[in-house]
Amino acid sequence: MTSTDTLTRTTAVRLAGVTKSFGPVDAVRGIDLTLEQGETVAFLGPNGAGKTTTIDMILGLSQPTSGTAEVLGMPPRHAIARGLVSAVMQTGGLLKDLSVRETVEYTASLFADTRSVDEVLADAGITEIADRKVAKCSGGEQQRLRFAMALLSDPALLLLDEPTTGMDVEGRRAFWSAIRRDAEQGRTVLFATHYLEEADQYADRIVLISHGRIVADGTGAEIKALASGRTLRATLPDADTDTLAALDGVTGVEVRGDSVLLHTKDSDTVARYLLTQTPARDLEITAKGLEDAFLSLTGDAR
């Protein structure tokens, strides 16, 4: 294996200043992203954030309006032609009139190097339904078939767009344990999701995307911290905003008429202070959701 050693550190994905516009709509507004081989990365963001558009460019399905996309040190289409990149899509992508086995055989015939059809069917747990028509398969079975097709060429990079949509809890768990096993073999996995929990549980790294930009990039714990703050609202006329802003953990103070809004990571301390040291009343504490985190992060990014 000595000849391959120099390839050890080829980056799996490299996006440099990538933008994508559809007419007047800027779907992706400048993304720089590097994924190393063997990483499992979650692409997290609300619907319409630009996740699918970015994945399409990594797959070479569309060309960036500006910037460059590179996969395993080559243009995306070259990596696809060598079976180095696969993707599992959310829906569609199957012919209903083919059997499960025919679908896998058809796909396998298109690659120069593939694993055996039987082996892939067995790995995906669909050997028993191999002769069934795709139209008669359940959503979960179709998803396992898509997964089998994606693993035929033993790709170095696997992209998953909302992979567990429509799966039950059991299927979801089995799916992710299979993905983790693959990642341990050195496969790079990038999956798009809008569930923070899924991203946190299964990814080594979370890339948060919103309005076509990366707004945060870090471990699950780091990203969760961004979303874990709370908002306190109290009626407090003539609030001393400077003192409030200086409290431990307070990240923002807003005054709206007689009300004051405080954003903080330590709501207990702020609540205690407000109720004991000030005439504040009608205190409300609300958790800052992921949506709020997105909003505040994109607000900063603009």
Binding site: L7, L110, G186
Partner: protein, 266 residues
């Protein structure tokens, strides 16, 4: 220098090959053929119906034995029916392109090494093979029935010319598939091609100079029918040749135009 990483064995990207012929292969072609043959509606309308029509028309035709060119009238009817069947099959095969795109299958194929040109070639081969089936079925029926008569070389030549005429309708199938997407495509193509066959003089002879003839010469079935029968009749008016060439160009252009428009977001 050996500096292999200890934790993971990376996938060796340099050892991977690109498949020859843009991914074209016989496994794919045979599965595609199986798909068309498994479609009961296509088989009935393109293989059984033209044969049945041939038997019905020649049985009721009192002048089937009268001479036409280097053969007889039954041979003339046989070539026409073979063309109708082949056109319908090819159109059915062509219309699958748009359906596959709507299902996301084309996008799935874009994630494999399959070259788009290889894909179109496979689809064209499927249309031609199915067209050849349709032509063979009608010609064998004619042979068994024994009424159709023409020299063997004329017989073979007309079958081959008919086969190439079906490409026009494969392109029409692709085009209509995009304009009327989904499973309804064949519901338009079936009656539509029957109507065009009536107008174009495939089901009955046109009399030159009549009002219907003046309309017919501009319709897409007229040209190819005249071309397909030319080996038998030894007649090919210039406007029939122009008609065949123009409609081929129109349908191929239309199919290419709709496909290009659709590629913006695969």
């Amino acid at each position: 220098m050996s500096t292999a990483s200890i934790d993971t064995a990376p996938i060796d990207t340099a050892s991977r090959r690109v498949p020859p012929l843009g991914g074209f292969n016989l496994t794919m072609l045979s599965i595609e053929l199986k798909r068309v043959l498994r479609n009961r509606r296509t088989v009935i309308f393109s293989l059984i119906l033209p044969t049945a029509l041939f038997f019905v028309i020649t049985s009721n035709d009192k002048t089937w034995a009268s001479p036409v060119g280097s053969g007889n009238e039954a041979a003339y009817i046989m070539i026409s029916m073979a063309l109708y069947g082949a056109a319908l099959t090819a159109a059915a095969a062509g219309s699958m392109v748009a359906l596959e795109r709507a299902l996301g299958w084309s996008r799935q194929l874009r994630l494999t090494p399959l070259n788009p040109v290889a894909y179109i070639i496979v689809k064209a081969l499927v249309a031609l093979t199915m067209g050849a089936f349709a032509i063979a079925v009608v010609n064998l029926s004619g042979l068994v029935q024994g009424r159709a008569e023409m020299p063997t070389d004329v017989w073979i030549l007309s079958a081959v010319v008919t086969l190439f005429c079906t490409l026009t309708f494969a392109a029409l199938g692709v085009f209509i598939g995009y304009v009327v997407p989904g499973e309804n495509t064949m519901q338009i193509l079936g009656p539509g091609l029957a109507l065009l066959s009536f107008l174009g003089g495939v089901f009955w002879p046109l009399t030159e100079g009549t009002l219907v003839w003046h309309v017919a010469v501009f319709t897409p079935m007229y040209g190819v029918a005249e071309v397909a029968r030319a080996p038998l009749t030894h007649e090919l008016p210039w406007y029939a040749a122009v008609n065949a060439a123009l409609w081929l160009a129109i349908f191929v252009g239309g199919a290419a135009w709709r496909m290009a428009k659709d590629t913006a977001r695969v």
